[in-house]
């Protein structure tokens, strides 16, 4: 939507003195330049952040090599022995870093979160727009938005103290004992642990991204015009068929965009995951209950101890991990931007940890 702009030179009558201009155009220039400079700041910030990351990660990239993406070790090395040089970079003896468990954990938790969140969010959006009476639907959709604004540290607190133990005692054993031993479902068998693992993290992340997808989907569904829906019903479609064949296709790109945004949020969430999984480094969980870690959770829980590495190599390695996460996140967000040609006007209060 492009509105006619203020100060469009083609529409300005020339030679007239205008109300509110002491010096002609001075206030306009103030606004114009202020706004121009301010709008550059996010871009400058993005470039700055990526540059710092790349510079800081460069020594680690030189030492860790491409194997960083596939190794499963996370060994800081000896900080007592004299450090050694590899490719001209000083690092502790015996240090060996591999980010595969981090990357795998990030992808696993995010996929679980998406699988859980997408149907629930769409169902919620449908319930809010089609099923609930208006007096109920407004407060309920506000409540869903509030959920998006709850700090992730509080969701993490609930996840580790209440939800995790509850699931580990009452739900997971039942699931693990009754799951058939077939591919994929096999991951649901085995030791269920204490609820501090992959599945709990994924479920909590799912709960965190449901509001993002649901509130956008609700806005989109409300934008679908009534006539095509009525037409479909007149052809004898049931409500579920109208949803399947009219409503969802109408706003499909918006929903995909919101889903990808939710995915980006799940990929980058550090706090809730770090609280729930305990950040077990160097392992890829054998089943869905095992402990694991993600890139973001590793950075948040390891930066403290990385600072004790006198050579700075551990810090540099964390920058490399951060760079991997940043690249994934930028790709996901640009993808969402490309997909969404109709963005929702609505700004949901989405925290990021």
């Amino acid at each position: 939507m492009t509105l006619p702009q203020l100060g469009d030179p083609t529409r300005r009558p020339s030679g007239l003195r205008r109300v509110g201009s002491l010096v002609r155009g001075s206030e306009e220039n103030l606004w114009r330049w202020g706004a121009r400079v301010a709008s550059l700041i996010p871009l400058v910030g993005l470039v700055f952040v990526l540059t710092v990351l790349a510079v800081k990660a460069w020594p680690a990239i030189k030492v860790n090599g491409p194997g960083f993406l596939s190794r499963t070790s996370w060994i800081p090395g000896s900080t007592y022995a004299a450090p050694v040089r590899t490719n001209g970079v000083l690092h502790p003896v015996g240090s060996s870093y591999g980010a595969w468990p981090l990357i795998a954990g990030t992808l696993q938790t995010s996929v679980i979160a998406l699988i859980v969140a997408l149907p629930i969010a769409l169902g919620t959006a449908f319930a809010l727009t089609e099923r609930l009476p208006r007096w109920l639907s407004r407060p309920v959709s506000f409540f869903v938005e509030i959920l998006a604004g709850i700090p992730s540290v509080i969701i993490g607190l609930w996840g580790v103290l209440t939800l995790g133990p509850f699931l580990a005692h009452h739900v997971y054993p039942f699931v693990a004992n009754n799951m058939p031993d077939v591919p994929i479902l096999r991951y649901f068998k085995g030791n269920v642990g204490y609820g501090e693992g992959l599945l709990t993290s994924g479920l909590v992340l799912g709960l965190m991204i449901v509001p993002i997808i649901a509130s956008t989907a609700r806005d989109l569904f409300m934008q679908v015009p009534l006539l095509p829906k009525e037409g479909a019903e007149a052809l004898g479609m049931t409500e579920s068929e109208v949803a399947r064949w009219v409503t969802i296709p109408w706003v499909r790109s918006g929903i995909i965009g919101a889903t990808v945004l939710g995915l980006g949020r799940a990929l980058g969430e550090p706090i809730a995951v770090a609280m729930i999984t305990g950040s077990i480094l160097g392992t890829v969980s054998p089943n869905v209950y095992g402990t694991m870690t993600t890139i973001a959770a590793t950075i948040v829980s390891q930066l403290d101890s990385a600072a004790t590495d006198g050579t700075g190599f551990a810090i540099s390695t964390l920058a490399e991990a951060g760079l991997v996460l940043a690249v994934i996140s930028v790709i996901v967000n640009v993808l969402a931007r490309v997909i969404v040609n109709r963005t929702s006007r609505h700004v949901a209060p989405v925290g990021r940890g």
């Binding site: 702009q5 002609r24 709008s39 149907p119 607190l157 209440t162 980058g268 967000n333």
Partner: protein
């Protein structure tokens, strides 16, 4: 008749599918509302039985104590974010909605800036915190302090403010602009007196939402703000500053009960603070919806 009923799927499975669909739709709602209420109730149940009002007026001691430092620190951070991110975000939104000239081919220009802003809106917070730590706290020798924390948080929430400002400005009726133009107002004057004035409630809503986000952040602050038991001081750098989310993050699994309670208290205060911000933003939206065109 026979041909018609054969070519259509029979009624019973369709009706069955319809029931399933409706049940799942309402079930999904239960799966969202249920855990949310459980979550909030859980924090309340953990915090309220041990609640002491002295939490608000004392600083953390070795065992127990209060959260006055963190509450005041969070308020200071809120004000700082409001000033920095508020200014940048609102101006960015004005740029996108009002001042940016369309490109030659008639499309709205500035796609690159807009994409950068949206990428920033989804950028992992911990990576921002890491860069703030490396570049500002260590690189510029600022140490754990208020200014790096404010810069990182502001970079984080600026895109939200920009987006909500932009959409608020786009809801200002075109007639207003045309009217201002017809009255012969200078562009800057019309922008300030007519356009921004009528979009103000929407802009403030975005600011409140951004504040709610900033209040709830942990990861960008952990390695930029540091932590201290002292009350906030006047210095922007070299002095660490306390904030509420830190206590939730570190104290919940401490061995001492009094320290754990501090964590739950901080969580309760956070929830109340976020609720106040979000509810007031919603009230503002409801008020303004009566006066703007085109929304719903």
């Amino acid at each position: 008749m026979a041909t018609i009923s054969n070519s259509f799927p029979s009624t019973r499975p369709r009706r069955f599918r319809e029931y399933i669909f409706k049940a799942m739709s309402l079930g999904a709602l239960v799966f969202v509302i249920g855990p949310s209420i459980w979550l909030i109730a859980d924090v309340v149940v953990r915090a309220v039985p041990h609640w002491r009002w002295s939490v608000l007026t004392s600083v953390p001691l070795g065992v127990g104590g209060g959260l006055e430092n963190a509450i005041l620190g969070t308020l200071v951070i809120m004000v700082g974010v409001l000033l920095i991110a508020g200014t940048i975000g609102v101006l960015t939104g004005i740029h996108f909605a009002e001042l940016q000239r369309p490109r030659r081919n008639g499309k709205a220009g500035g796609d690159f800036l807009r994409t950068a802003t949206e990428v920033m809106a989804g950028f992992p917070s911990i990576v921002l915190g890491y860069v703030g730590y490396i570049a500002l706290c260590v690189g510029l020798h600022w140490g754990f302090s208020l200014l790096p924390a404010l810069i990182v948080l502001s970079i984080m929430v600026t895109p939200y403010i920009a987006k909500s400002t932009e959409s608020a400005l786009r809801q200002v009726p075109t007639n207003y602009r045309e009217g201002a133009e017809a009255l012969g107002m200078a562009t800057g004057y019309a922008l300030r007196k007519v356009v921004i004035k009528s979009a103000l409630p929407g802009i403030v809503t975005g600011l409140l939402i951004a504040l709610a986000i900033a209040v709830g952040e942990t990861a960008p602050l952990l390695y930029t703000a540091g932590i201290t038991n002292n009350l906030p001081s006047a210095s922007l750098i070299h002095q660490p500053i306390a904030y509420l989310t830190y206590y939730v993050w570190t104290d919940y699994n401490q061995p001492i009960k009094a320290t754990q309670y501090l964590s739950f208290d901080a969580a309760l205060i956070l929830i109340v603070l976020v609720l106040v911000l979000l509810v007031s933003s919603r009230l503002l939206v409801n008020r303004t919806q009566r006066y703007t065109e085109g929304r719903r």
